[in-house]
């Protein structure tokens, strides 16, 4: 995405990934369909879309953590030369946390309530890096907590003794325990108040720059995307609506959904403008419209949209969108 002479190498390539949720006796729900994305070293990719559009499903599938009903029905997840979808259960367990770690939505429940925070962080380390030296392990845990701004001596405390923001910090410390290449942050600040949100995001940004992490940031917050991300993938109803670098998405959005989404976000330079909303609801994944999934709500809809699902078109080599309008122009 970045037109630099010194292009960082590709870490992860997701090609045409499709995921269904299967319930016995019912047609499968196509939660994610034909999503393609690329993640380079040190890149921050924003994943944006309404609730239930398949963002979390997509993220969980990257680590093969889908719930029992979730099936990956097509595509590949190429990570540093191997397709994660073909790895054995033991091999994928090695990739988890060591290469790709995750910060979860629910800061409250993502830590085990009956084990100390330090214990849970050391577990993450020893699972992947053999460490016989107890002191070295303790030091590493202290170092990680220190990195996220928690006093190391608090490692002996339990999650309920931490505030919500501290728990999310501890979660971040845990995510960094094995120095992974990729951190997936699934709405890391949803459950926190605004002040703490800002702190956590600042921390993430600092750590990202300091450690050169690649981050996939799942969020509803476009302001955050503008501030933190290098590229953006906009999802709608399980498919890619638009995918490009952050400037293109904000300045030249091609997909009507992206355009509407941006209008629904307050603009500092024009504070008097009324915020737009998109009428209607996102489609149910088990009852998708036959044509374009956005057609029932699209302000620029025309006949073809209702009968034919648009393919993904390249507007430029770094700008993709799935809209019949783009093909026509």
């Amino acid at each position: 995405m970045i037109n630099d002479t010194n292009i960082p190498s590709t870490l992860m390539e997701v090609n045409h990934l499709s995921i269904d949720y299967v319930t016995p006796g019912r047609p499968p729900a196509h939660a994610v369909e034909d999503v393609t994305l690329t993640l380079r070293e040190g890149e921050v990719l924003g994943l944006v879309g309404e609730s239930g559009c398949g963002k979390t499903t997509l993220m969980l599938s990257l680590m093969r953590l889908l719930p029992a009903a979730g099936r990956i029905v097509g595509g590949e997840v190429n990570f540093m030369g191997t397709d994660l979808l073909n790895l054995s259960e033991t091999d994928i367990a090695d990739v988890r946390w060591k290469r790709i770690s995750m910060i979860f939505q629910g800061a409250m429940n993502a830590l085990n309530p009956v084990r100390t925070v330090g214990d849970q962080i050391s577990e993450a380390i020893t699972q992947h890096i053999p460490m016989n030296d107890k002191t070295a392990l303790d030091n590493r845990v202290g170092e990680l907590l220190d990195l996220v701004g928690i006093a190391p001596h608090r490692k002996v405390e339990y999650p309920h003794q931490y505030s919500g923001g501290m728990r999310q910090r501890a979660m971040i410390a845990m995510a960094l325990a094995c120095t992974p290449q990729v951190v997936i942050a699934d709405e890391p600040t949803t459950a926190l108040d605004v002040m703490i949100q800002a702190q956590i995001l600042e921390l993430l940004q600092t750590l990202q720059q300091k450690l050169g992490l690649a981050i996939i940031l799942v969020t509803h917050d476009l302001g955050l995307v503008a501030e933190m991300c290098d590229s953006v993938l906009v999802m709608y109803g399980g498919v890619t609506a638009e995918y490009s670098d952050v400037d293109t998405i904000f300045n030249e959005p091609k997909h009507p959904y992206t355009q509407e989404l941006l209008k629904a976000f307050p603009d500092l330079s024009n504070p008097r403008e009324t915020l737009a909303s998109i009428p209607g609801y996102p489609p149910r994944l088990d009852a998708l419209p036959p044509g374009c999934r956005f057609a029932p709500r699209c302000p620029a809809v025309f006949d073809r949209c209702h009968v034919e699902q648009p393919d993904i078109h390249a507007v430029t080599p770094t700008h993709y969108t799935s809209c019949h309008l783009v093909e026509n122009s």
Partner: protein
């Protein structure tokens, strides 16, 4: 809050409960009709003097408590009597000395009879509970791990059946089957007039007597443990921290062992404690069917013979067992779950 204060408070509560039970236990048996002279020994030939002698022997000639000569029928009396000359304080005083009174029926100290019987019950219940806990938890874990597979459904079906079987019916069926097909003894603790000459033979004899009642007891309780273990474990396995553990690269076995079980143990501990306490009494059916000389059997006999001091003593033992089991559960709880300590 620090640990020793929590401990002290819990123990104080347990003692307070015990005191309440002691008082209740005393008055409960004073409001019930009858004393040995009138109800226990129904012999019309008994002379007035003999009746009076019996009443004196059991201390029933004294007023129940100040102002009350007796509670059933209610008969008011002098309030001026020395409190230590009333039945209530004599009872409390005797309790403190470990004296639970004299059995109306057996004419022996209740404490001695109960002590011997209690150990038999503890032996039977101990064996049965340990087996039921181990097997029930094992099955529950297996079923939750393999949820919605054939293993799960089989374990579920079996446990539901075991749980719904009437204890006495299962006991009778097992007794019938075991004594005819397997040649096991039909009841008692040891073969009467047994020829056991050494310890080993005696233990083997005891073991053979224990098989059927223990089996009955295990089957009856196994189902409950399995069902609770399975459902709590399934709840725990759907928690976010289990997903975190999986994302950390832990195997299913590690997740169960290191993250799920400790969380799932909390309801189990409560259940085990409650069962342990109540089954000191709850073994009545099994002990009756298998003529096991335990506390349950003693209670059954005492009810049949209206042996109030015996019942009173047994009730006290049961209350102590329930209170102690709950205290232990409380303390275990705060060890298992760090969040509990504050409460």
């Amino acid at each position: 809050m620090n640990r020793s204060r929590v401990l002290a408070r819990r123990i104080a509560w347990a003692l307070f409960t015990l005191l309440f039970v002691v008082v209740l236990n005393f008055f409960l048996f004073r409001v019930l009709p009858g004393d040995p002279a009138r109800a226990g020994i129904r012999d019309p030939r008994l002379t007035r003097e003999a009746q009076e002698a019996i009443r004196v022997r059991f201390g029933l000639d004294k007023p129940v408590i100040n102002c009350f000569e007796s509670l059933n029928p209610v008969k008011l009396g002098s309030c001026e009597v020395n409190p230590f000359e009333t039945q209530f304080f004599i009872y409390i005083g005797n309790l403190l000395k470990g004296d639970l009174g004299i059995s109306y029926h057996l004419n022996q100290p209740v404490a001695d009879i109960l002590r011997a019987r209690l150990w038999n019950t503890v032996l039977l219940i101990g064996a049965g509970q340990i087996l039921a806990i181990i097997l029930g938890m094992g099955l529950g874990i297996a079923a939750a791990w393999k949820a919605r597979t054939a293993i799960d459904y089989l374990a579920l079906l079996g446990s539901l059946m075991a749980w719904s079987l009437p204890t006495f019916w299962l006991g009778i069926i097992l007794l019938f089957w075991g004594s005819t097909d397997l040649g096991l003894p039909i009841g008692g603790k040891l073969t009467a007039g047994g020829s056991a000459t050494n310890m080993v033979d005696e233990w083997i004899d005891l073991g053979r007597h224990m098989i059927l009642p223990t089996l009955t007891y295990t089957i009856v309780f196994l189902g409950e443990y399995m069902l609770i273990m399975r459902s709590t474990l399934l709840d725990v396995l759907s928690e976010d921290y289990i997903l975190t553990a999986k994302a950390k690269g832990l195997s299913t076995f590690q997740i169960l062992k290191d993250h799920a079980l400790q969380n799932a143990m909390l309801p189990m501990v409560t259940l085990i404690a409650l069962n342990l306490g109540f089954t000191v009494a709850g073994a009545i059916q099994i002990e009756s069917v298998f003529s096991w000389p335990g506390l349950g059997g003693a209670i059954y006999e005492a009810v049949v013979r209206r042996d109030y001091p015996m019942l009173q003593g047994a009730f006290l033992w049961i209350a102590i067992a329930v209170i102690a089991a709950n205290l232990i559960a409380d303390l275990l709880y705060s060890t298992l779950d760090p969040r509990v300590e504050a409460g």
